[in-house]
Assembly symmetry: C2
Homo-oligomer: 260 residues x 2
């Protein structure tokens, strides 16, 4: 990669096709518009591509057009890396803050986003496609090699009923009855013992955050009855739902994830 091409790489795109040496491919119309009109790239310019499976590739634009930018792949820049298996299940919040949750959770490395309706959730409908678009854009910008998958909205009861065996759950308990999140996570890391020396080897996890009004008593009882669930507190101040999600994900990555 010459200095010249390096200085030009500003666009980084997820694409839905296989990436192999010398492959030729065409961007879809939305990405073609972005590349030609927003980024103002032309034939000969470089692009970075990833698809969630084949690592990260350097491509060169061979032809442009608003609806079909053509590319040829040059070289693989990075191999696909394993990432922690961390879900974020969250009671949706209103307006721009739900976009924000999807963006920030992507930067913080979640593997799946699960909007969950709780008794006190004050949002009637979640635009899953919009959350997925936010996750895609954030993954492109933060140099991730995968995009978190956004699941259809479900109720908390449905989520717990179909909970996968072996996945642990840290839920943010606004009643302050859980332990400090850092201590609880470090305890959990210690429990893993010698079998969990390596990054990502703490097994599958999830973070669950409630709505602005908190979980109901029944929901607290449901969560506390699950042997895979750990209640944690995030300090003495009342955090908004989106802040709690980011703080919990940060602590998880620092103790059990790939920030070590």
């Amino acid at each position: 990669m010459s200095d010249k091409s390096e200085s030009k790489i500003r666009a980084r795109l997820w694409v839905d096709c296989a990436l192999t040496a010398d492959a030729e491919l065409a961007l879809n119309s939305a990405d073609s518009h972005y590349v030609t009109t927003v980024m103002r790239l032309r034939a000969g310019d470089a692009l970075v591509l990833f698809n969630g499976q084949d690592g990260e590739w350097l491509g060169k634009i061979t032809s442009t057009g608003k609806c079909a930018v053509g590319l040829i792949l040059n070289e693989q820049l990075r191999e696909q890396q394993p990432e922690p298996d961390l879900w974020l299940a969250f009671a949706p919040v209103k307006g721009a803050r739900i976009d924000f949750v999807a963006q920030k959770a992507t930067e913080l490395g979640v593997s799946r986003l699960l909007p969950v309706m709780t008794e006190r959730t004050n949002v009637s409908r979640v635009n899953v496609a919009r959350l997925q678009a936010n996750a895609k854009e954030a993954a492109e910008q933060c140099e991730r090699l995968v995009i978190p998958e956004v699941r259809e909205t479900q109720t908390l009861t449905e989520l717990i009923s179909a909970w996968p065996v072996g996945r642990r759950l840290m839920f943010c308990d606004e009643t302050l009855s859980g332990g400090p999140a850092l201590e609880v996570l470090q305890q959990a890391a210690g429990d893993g013992g010698a079998s969990f020396d390596n990054a990502f080897d703490h097994g599958p996890w999830a973070v669950l955050t409630g709505p602005e009004g908190g979980f109901s008593n029944q929901e607290h009882e449901l969560l506390r009855a699950q042997d895979y669930a750990l209640a944690v507190t995030l300090g003495p101040r009342l955090l908004r739902a989106d802040t709690a999600a980011l703080a919990a994900l940060t602590l998880w990555q620092a103790v059990l994830g790939d920030w070590r």
Copy 2:
């Protein structure tokens, strides 16, 4: 406090006057408008008040009017609590994301917000009054007893030139040459040893985050030359500037602050 009044307490306001038993006071016009028009409170309704010094008080509205709501204080709900002495110095970001930094940093318990211009900062002017208004509103909502103070914008060189003796600085190093933030903070906590058993006793600290393009080489050298400065990394993904600030504050509170 009766159940009836408790169920009505929805407004929580910072006021710029002394709070003592049986004191009578008048809200300013902005807060009066908020209380009567947005919250639709009337004479006899309850309000929670704080001023950053005298704890938290329950007040009752004695008279209303768009420009002058009158109150009488009933009882002190909480005494003023000490909070960690944690600054956030940050290269300003554009648009709604700078408001977001002020709001979230307030929820995460910072004592002071310092916008800092760096070489690659892509924002020409910071609206300090707007940041302060964001911090006030966030403090009112997150049940804090103080509002972080927002300082006038300064350059990084000015910030470092006037750095107070004894305040440690954790700066987020996007070049990945620092240690993992959790390890660095736990090492710093250990250094404090027996003299730092209590919450808030780790002395004054600051978190510093750079602009989207990172610190320049000269800025890195300047920061690394300060014996009070510690470089930390926040994982392998590229975090946006606002995400990095929240993640760093979260880890500080969990290890050295009042989340323990």
